[in-house]
Symmetry: C2
Subunit: 344 residues, 2 copies
C-alpha cells in the first residue's frame, strides 16, 4: 500500500506540519504533490531529504491523486475541494467550509473514526480547539450522559496562521520596553494581551470560532441538542491551545474515574497531580501528538459537574495530525506506534 | 479633613500603586508613613515631589496613624495588622488573611460600601480577579436573582508580584529565539505559555485562587449559597486581569439591558460593539480606573444565561484603587471626579 498524495496549502503552518508528519510517521507515499495558491512565494519544500516543487493549484494538479490533505482558507477550499473530488481524490479538508454539511463526516479518528468505514470521499477535519476538547470529553461521554458544557479557550496565535504568528513576534519585541503597538489592521495587539474575539462576529453576538466549538462538539459527539456555550479567547502563546471545561453529566464522575478514562483513551495523556504540582500547559503540548488533560475536580455545588483543563498542539492534533490520521484510517495505512517523547 | 496615613508594604507593586493613587486623587494626607518589611531594599519613595523615607515596620511605626493601607503577604498581615489595629489605626488589608472572617467586612465600595457606615476598624480588600467579576455582576444581580456562575480567568503576571513580573520579562527575552526556560522554582514559564494554577492546591483539587473567587463572590454579593465554579489561569500579560463569565439568573437579561445596567453603574465602562469590532482587553484596562466589560451575549440554549468578558487593572481596581476608595468612604474623604482617560 503506497499512496499518491497531495497537500493543498503546503506552504502554510498546517500544510508544513502535514508534510513533517508524513515524514515522521513513515507514511507510505508513492508520489507527493505540494500545491499552493498563487500567493505563496515558496518554490520548493524539503521532504525526506529532497526538495519537492511547490506547484500552483489547478484542475490538472489533482490528476491521479488518491488523496488530498487540504489546509487552505474557506474560499480556496470552496473553490478547489470540489475540483479535487471531481478528479477522483479523497479529500480531508481542514477548512470549515464543509464541516456543517450533514452528509460530510466530521471526524476525530479516536472518537468517531468508525464513520470512515463507509469510505467517504470528503471528510472534514474539525476546528483546532474543538479537537482537544472533544478528545477529553469523548471517553467521559461514553461512561455517562453529557448534559451541558461551558468552555473557555486559551488559543495560541499560530491558530490564526503564519502572518499572525509573525505579528506576535514583532509585537513582543516592540513591547519589551513599552506597550506593544496595535496590529497592522488596527485591532489590539496579541503581545502581552488577551483577545476575546477570534474570527468574525455572528449576528447572535458570538464569534464564528465560538459557534464552531458549539456546532462541531455536537456533531462529533452525536449530541445534536447538547447545550454548549463557549468563550473563544486568543492568548500570546505560539503553539498550543488550552481550554477550561465545565461539563455536567447525568451522574457524578469522580476525578479519579475521569483520569482513568482519559489514560485508557488513545491519544490522551493525563498530567494531573496536584501533590507534585503537575498540570497541563500549552507550551508542554507544543510538538506533542497527545492531548494533555488535567486539573480534574468536581463542581463543589453539583456533584454531576466536572471541571478540567485540556491542552493540545493546535497544528498537530488540532489540525495536521488529525487530518493525517484520517487519511491513514481511511486508506488502511497502519499508524506508527504512539510517539510519547517530544521531538528534538 | 486630613489624615495621617500609613502604607504597609509600600515598596511592592500594590504599595507603589497605592502611593501613586493617593497623589493622583489629591488625597488629603497630613502625614504619610511608608513601611516595609526588612526584606525591602528601598530607602525612599517619591511622593508629591519629595522623597519619603521607607521605614522598617515595627509596633512604634503605627503610632498616631488614622489609617493603614496594608499590601503585604498573608504571614506579614497576620503579624502586623493586629499591631496596627492595637495602635488605633483603621486598617484596609489587601491580603486574604482576614477576608473570610465573618466579622470583617469584605468591601467593594460601589457594591457593598454601605458596610462602611458602621465604621469598621478592619476592612478586607477582595481578591484582584474577584473585584472585576463582582463589579460586573453586581448591577445584574440587583436586577435579577443570580443563580449560578462559571468563571474562567485570564490573570496577568503582576498579580503574582514584582518578582514574577521580572520573571515574565526575562522569560520573554529568553523565549524570543527558542522555548522559554522553566521558572527559577522549576515550574513552567509564564512567557509564551498559560498556567492553569494560581496559588497553592487545596485538598479539594481547586487552587486557593479559585476558592477565593468562590468565597469572596458569595460574601460580597451576600449570596452565601451561590453555586460558583472557577478556573483561575495565569496568562503572559503584564497588567490587567480578564475573566470569561457564564452567569445564570432567574430571568433572561438581554445583552442590551446588561449593557445599560453596566453603563449606569459607577466604575464600569462598557466596551461592547461587535459591529465596530469593540471588546475589552486586559491591555486596554491597564492604567485605567474603570472595569471594562463587553462580549455580552445570551446563552443560546437557556435564555436565563448571560455570557460576558470583563477586564480590569489588577493593581488599580483589583487592589490599590479599591483599597484607597475604601479609605475615602470610611473617612468621608470626597473622591475625585471619575478619570476616564488613561494616564500619560
Amino acid at each position: 500500500m503506497s499512496l499518491r498524495l497531495g497537500i493543498l496549502g503546503a506552504t502554510g503552518l498546517v500544510g508544513r506540519t502535514m508534510l513533517a508528519l508524513l515524514d515522521e510517521r513513515d507514511f507510505p507515499v508513492d508520489e507527493l504533490r505540494l500545491l499552493a495558491s498563487g500567493r505563496s512565494e515558496e518554490r520548493t519544500l524539503r521532504f525526506r531529504g529532497s526538495e519537492v516543487a511547490v506547484l500552483p493549484v489547478s484542475a490538472e494538479a489533482f490528476a491521479g491523486l488518491d488523496g488530498v490533505l487540504s489546509a487552505v482558507s474557506n474560499p480556496l477550499a470552496e473553490e478547489w475541494v470540489p475540483v479535487a473530488r471531481a478528479a477522483g481524490a479523497v479529500v480531508v479538508d481542514n477548512s470549515s467550509a464543509f464541516r456543517y454539511v450533514a452528509a460530510v463526516p466530521l471526524v476525530i479518528p479516536e472518537v468517531n473514526g468508525a464513520l470512515l468505514a463507509e469510505r467517504p470521499g470528503l471528510i472534514a477535519n474539525p476546528n483546532c480547539s474543538t479537537i482537544g476538547i472533544v478528545m477529553a470529553l469523548a471517553p467521559l461521554a461514553r461512561a455517562a450522559r453529557l448534559l451541558q458544557l461551558v468552555v473557555s479557550t486559551y488559543q495560541s496565535v499560530s491558530g490564526a496562521g503564519s502572518e499572525a504568528l509573525e505579528e506576535l513576534e514583532r509585537g513582543v519585541r516592540a513591547g519589551l520596553e513599552r506597550d506593544p503597538p496595535a496590529r497592522a489592521d488596527g485591532t489590539p495587539p496579541f503581545a502581552f494581551n488577551v483577545i476575546p474575539r477570534i474570527d468574525r462576529f455572528e449576528a447572535n453576538g458570538y464569534t464564528r470560532e465560538e459557534m464552531k466549538v458549539v456546532w462541531e462538539t455536537r456533531k462529533i459527539l452525536g449530541l445534536p441538542a447538547l447545550p454548549v456555550v463557549c468563550s473563544a479567547v486568543r492568548v500570546p502563546v505560539r503553539i498550543g491551545h488550552g481550554a477550561a471545561v465545565h461539563a455536567v453529566f447525568d451522574r457524578p464522575i469522580p476525578p479519579s474515574e475521569a483520569r482513568a478514562l482519559w489514560a485508557a483513551f488513545p491519544g490522551m495523556e493525563v498530567v494531573d497531580d496536584p501533590a507534585r504540582g503537575l498540570f497541563p500547559t500549552p507550551l508542554a503540548s507544543a510538538g506533542r501528538d497527545e492531548v494533555l488533560v488535567g486539573r480534574a475536580r468536581p463542581d463543589l455545588d453539583d456533584a454531576r459537574g466536572l471541571e478540567f483543563f485540556v491542552c493540545s498542539d493546535n497544528l498537530r492534533k488540532g489540525a495536521a495530525l488529525n487530518a493525517v490520521q484520517i487519511v491513514e484510517r481511511r486508506f488502511g495505512v497502519e499508524p506508527p506506534a504512539p510517539r510519547k517523547a517530544r521531538p528534538a
